[in-house]
């Protein structure tokens, strides 16, 4: 550990603003870059699940309608 106090970590002998700004502007897009495709994948996956349920319900409905005719 190079720094002695939390305040000196923040201040960094006058360079704190630049260092922390650079790290913040890196962290944000990196999180975004990983989170976005995960979110997109989940949305697609849920849509596909709903689609399968719709298809199954439609088949079941069809079967019950045909059953009542007999």
């Amino acid at each position: 550990m190079y720094f002695e106090s939390l305040a000196s970590v923040w201040y960094m002998d006058g360079h704190g603003f630049y260092v922390w700004l650079a790290y913040a502007l890196t962290a944000l897009p990196l999180v975004f870059m990983v989170w976005l495709p995960i979110k997109r994948m989940q949305q697609h996956w849920r849509w596909l699940q709903a689609e399968q349920r719709r298809a199954a319900a439609a088949t079941a409905n069809q079967a019950s309608v045909m059953g009542s005719d007999v």
Binding site: M1, Y2, F3, V9, M12, D13, G14, H15, G16, Y18, V19, L21, A22, Y23, L25, T26, P29, L30, F32, M33, V34, P37, I38, R40, M41, H44, W45, L48, Q49, E51, Q52
Partner: protein, 262 residues
């Protein structure tokens, strides 16, 4: 001669398994399963490496004797720039494979690499500008290294935009592959720019041959961060490819089965 024979057999076996592996990568269902298990490992590993590297670089490493604490930006600036360049090779190589062998998975790889590379290049430029202010006294200068990195950003964004511009996605992929291959010219220019037109940007501190111009106490966290950014690139690439595959293969039996099982 027995050891030589054993060695040759081992090489042949490795060679065969490598080619089998490459062929499997071209198959979407196999890739989907493989990348799924890889991502589950890679995500916690990448997060740990990034956190350890950042804390080491920010808090543990000593300050630079000339630049003071502002040099700590190196731990994100250099890894982002290095992986942005490596990512371009991945994109251009995938583009070449797509053009020559018409493998669909190569298209998917090429397009998944473009936004990741663009973000990393932008990070390298932004952190470089912030580092430049206390070090050079200016946010921006039309230095050869900086300008060629800006061109790299435009090439990445160009691939993203070009794909969206075409209605016919097969033609779009072909145009993107040609653009990324032509843009490869820029990569050696970026590497060599600090030596050919030396103005403000400092030359490389890490050398593969000969001694690095950086002390071990500063070098180790930097190497760790470079590894972390490589992991991050692979992770983001795989995640983009998986999200894309789920959508383009929504009518495929293998995917319907996977979705039905969850």
């Amino acid at each position: 001669m027995a050891p030589v024979g054993a060695l040759l057999r081992a090489v042949r076996r490795y060679n065969t398994s490598m080619w089998t592996f490459i062929h499997k990568l071209g198959s979407p269902p196999w890739f989907f399963g493989f990348s799924g298990s890889l991502v589950r490992w890679l995500l916690p590993i990448t997060v740990t490496l990034l956190l350890v590297g950042a804390i080491w670089g920010l808090l543990v490493a000593p300050p630079d004797f000339r630049q003071g604490n502002s040099y700590r930006i190196i731990y994100i600036h250099v890894p982002a720039a290095v992986v942005a360049l490596a990512g371009y090779y991945v994109m251009a190589f995938a583009g070449a494979v797509s053009l020559i062998w018409r493998i669909r998975m190569a298209d998917v790889t090429m397009r998944a690499a473009a936004p990741v590379g663009a973000i990393l290049t932008a990070i390298a430029l932004v952190t470089g500008a912030i580092w430049g202010k206390p070090t050079w006294g200016t946010w921006w200068v039309w230095d050869a290294r900086i300008t060629s990195m800006l061109i790299l950003l435009f090439l990445y964004l160009g691939v993203v935009a070009l794909f969206e511009a075409y209605e016919n996605k097969t033609a779009a992929a072909r145009a993107c592959a040609v653009l990324s291959l032509v843009g490869t010219v820029n990569i050696p220019i970026i590497y060599k720019s600090v030596d050919w037109w030396y103005s403000l940007h400092q030359p490389a501190s890490i050398k593969f041959t000969g001694e690095s111009a950086i002390d071990a106490s500063m070098l180790y966290p930097l190497l760790l961060m470079i590894v972390a950014f490589y992991c991050l690139f692979v992770l983001a690439l795989l995640l983009n490819m998986r999200a894309e595959l789920v959508w383009t293969h929504r009518e495929s039996g293998w995917l319907k089965q996977l979705v039905g099982d969850t």
